[in-house]
Amino acid sequence: MTPARKAGRCASLMTASHRIRQEIAAVFASSEVPIEAQARCGPFGLRLGFASRELADTFLPAYIQSAPETVDLDLRFITGDHHDLSGLVPEAAEKPRLLIEDGIYSVWQPAVIPVLFAIDLTAKRGIAWLPTGEAPPWIRSRPAISLIHALMHETPWCAVHGAAVGSRAGFTLLAGEGHSGKTTAALACAKAGWRYAGDDFVAVDSQSGRIEPLFCSARLRPALVETFRNFIGKTSAVSDFNGEPRHELSLADLGDRIGGGRLRATFIPRRRGAVTPAFTPARQSDAFRALLPTTAYELPGWPNEIADKVARIAGLAPVFFADTGTQPMEIPAAFAHQLDRL
């Protein structure tokens, strides 16, 4: 038996988690990282490494760059040109896969543009591997969020699908499916001077109600560009997936106004024909139904833990349906008034 064949045979006897752990270690041992940065992401500090300027240009705008006190995750973005990790791609590569085993969490998302995310929770090292060098548009605004989800396992924190903005009256979590008006409301409030924690996914402590931003990104439908033209500055690149075009915005220029605070109310935006914003009391279960679907779907693994956290978050503060009206710039005053009444 040739040495290569013998090595191959040994490799085939390893568990998948063992192989993934080895490859993560090899990625960190073998290469220089031309572009490094530090960021905070929810309650975590990240050290980011990008194998190319192109990767950094793709993903770094979404991160809240700052020097964290501690590094909770060392994360590398690499492509198939930098590292051949094809040995980790599971059989039946056309199927998405999830592995949670022996301190390794890994997700294979083949889709149209494949991505492999993996984290060694013991070593606190993670990788985002883009085999073709291309990045799926839907991960640019929330890069490697599944690995952040893995870091939150067995903590009270949860990355929830929602927007969050705050004023002196406290933060509101905006929960609801796509097209419900979360981004419009969040950007209108940010434009009015509120603190901004995100328009897509935010970190929420399910015990204390503390909200923290995960990213400084926003995804804006082209129809709303004119409404926010002065706020967003130059128009950014448009991603288009399944006929859903979005401007992928970085709101890094907001500086200290990218931040978090204490949850005061959960609003469920919906459009029911009101001209001016109107609020209707809703139930904890309404908030749960608004928050859970995309949260549980886009963060693979531990669905029951997610559901428990989301249920707790849904019960932390009063819940209202918010018909956001026809004039986005009236939303901040209406939200502030509603929060002040609580």
Binding site: A4, G8, S12, L99, W108, Q109, R283, Q284, P300, A307
Partner: protein, 140 residues
């Protein structure tokens, strides 16, 4: 065969007298309220269909025979929908009693599948917990 409320890929949460069930693989949500929630909670407390029907009749004072029929029919519909399953019963709670005010109302579940198409369009969520079958290394 015993009935269980512990069903793979189904998330359940109780909010006061309401139960929300979510099939996180296909994006279908269900809302159980009133007698429907009480029947599901009775099964979760490891009561038989007969025990649940009797308890509901005692609580509401309505006709036991028609309640028994309605509970059995609703249990069958939950089984068909995958909201409960045949298998090892859930742990038996020592005390369980339905919380219901007013007359018995025929149980039914609300089904929400408006998110289904939206979620199925998005390829990110589909990772199943089916393990990670490694490829055989090439001999080169």
């Amino acid at each position: 065969m015993a009935l269980t409320t512990t069903v793979p890929q189904l998330i359940s949460q109780q909010f006061d007298s309401e139960v929300v069930l979510a099939n996180y693989q296909n994006g279908v949500y269900y809302n159980l309220d009133g007698s429907a929630a009480q029947i599901w909670l009775g099964l979760k407390a490891n009561r038989t269909v007969e025990e649940i029907a009797r308890a509901l009749a005692d609580t509401t004072g309505d006709d036991p025979a028609s309640i028994a029929q309605a509970v059995q029919a609703f249990t069958d519909s939950m089984l068909a929908e995958g909201l409960i399953a045949e298998g090892t019963a859930d742990a038996r709670l020592e005390t369980w009693a339905p919380v219901l005010s007013g007359a018995f109302v025929t149980p039914e579940f609300q089904r929400f599948d408006n998110l289904r198409e939206l979620l199925l369009m998005d390829p990110v969520h589909d990772a199943g917990e089916e393990g990670w079958p490694l490829r055989e290394p090439h001999d080169g």
